[in-house]
């Protein structure tokens, strides 16, 4: 093997390496896959601008879900911090071709909240949270959140009331299929089939919200 030699002085560098790069996602509206990837790479690097951009877009629905599932503003705040930290840890594995950034973050949030509920003694079921504060005026970065909500509400309209209740009991109530089957005195297989059918209906209704 060749021994390492001192570097030659004045060695040429390829000019394109010197170009400045900056994080420049669009300020509002749904992000393109490339922009989502760019934000996630910024997050991975601990870039404060990227973290703030992600926070501006997604903190509110994450905090809302945390409040809904965990029952206190303090727990929801901890969850929100944990979600962004977990997202930083998992950032290298985010693949925009397999789903939107918002869905990825919300799945992390839900999983962390459910794990926390299971760990905490005495908390068996999340309870409904009523919030009487006046919502803040939404910033431009939260336009996507509003659109997501609008699309989500329309997607859920594709479900019957019974299907909505079933999914809500599982997603918000933390009830397993077996627990629902026992409560309703119906076969376990029937509950699983109904869960899947309802989720597929939502998925189909969601098709038109795919990335621009």
């Amino acid at each position: 093997m060749m021994a390492k030699q001192p570097r030659k002085p004045g060695q040429a560098r390829r000019p394109y390496h010197r170009k400045e790069t900056r994080l420049d996602p669009r300020p509002d509206g749904p992000l393109l896959a490339r922009e989502e990837q760019q934000l996630v790479e910024g997050l991975l690097a601990g870039n404060q601008e990227a973290v703030r951009a992600l926070y501006a877009r997604y903190a509110r629905p994450i905090f809302t879900l945390g409040l809904r599932l965990l029952g206190s503003a303090e727990a929801a705040e901890e969850l929100t911090q944990d979600v962004f930290l977990a997202a930083w840890r998992k950032a290298a594995r985010f693949d925009p071709s397999r789903g939107r950034l918002s869905t990825w973050l919300m799945t992390i949030a839900h999983n962390l909240a459910v794990d926390r509920l299971r760990r905490e003694t005495g908390v068996t079921r999340p309870r409904l949270i009523l919030v009487d504060e006046v919502p803040e005026v939404l910033g431009p970065d939260e336009d996507e959140v509003l659109m997501e909500r609008d699309v989500a509400i329309r997607a859920l309209e594709s479900l019957s009331d019974a299907e909505k209740r079933l999914l809500a009991r599982a997603y918000f109530g933390g009830l397993t299929a077996r627990e629902i089957a026992e409560d309703d005195h119906i076969p376990l297989g029937t509950v699983k089939t109904r869960l899947r059918t309802a989720l597929i209906k939502v998925r189909r209704a969601n098709q038109d919200k795919e990335r621009p």
Partner: protein, 257 residues
Amino acid sequence: MTCLEVRELLPELAVGVLSPEDRERAERHLQWCAGCRKEATDLGSAAATFAFALEPVPVPQGLGDRVVARVHRAAGAPGTSRRARMAAAAVVAAMVAVTSLGWGAVMAGRADRFAERAERAEREQAAALERFQRILAGVIPGQQLPDDETHLGQLALVAGGSGGGAVLQLVSPTILDFVIVIVSGLDPVQGSMPYRVRLVNARGDVLRAGRIDELDADGGAEAYHQFKTADLTGYTTVDVVDATGAVVLSGVVDQSA
């Protein structure tokens, strides 16, 4: 577990109520089954719709600053090997994206049509290389790394194998040489693991460049190796071989670039 058994669990996995044991069993299956993984992704996306439908509530003042500070602290902490590997994964993934942006078409003479994409690709490549430099600077504190000594190659499927990947070499006359290999879509079945990475030069000399003992849900992994004495000059062929010695992925790094 069979696909049928796993698919029965997927709705509960999507809504987050599967028992830890069943979740682990399902996740293991999803590591290698693309069909079930697709179904799991679709159902999970549908379940998240419920979260988006909630009436948004205001977030506490100052929470944004605390989130930013926490992530910034974690990202700026003394580099762990895991963090370096993750960052490297993102860099090389970005490079793979760059190489698929249409350079072939540009070379074919349709430069006008693809000029914008080419410029973007160049910017992204520049950004990727800058980040790669920062990663390596973190690995060797205080060392400024020459940006003209990093070389990229893609790993392509060999008959009988699965997946794909990318490789980045640092070949430097002044500092220790590195190789980082990112793979995805490898088969995790028993008998294939562990995978090994090897570098081969024109004379057929072989250097071992890492071992892959674990794959993620996408059959992906990163192998990172620093060569204390060997010089990677000329070791342009990169192979990923399975436990039986069969080459499953192979590629060539252009060290002249």
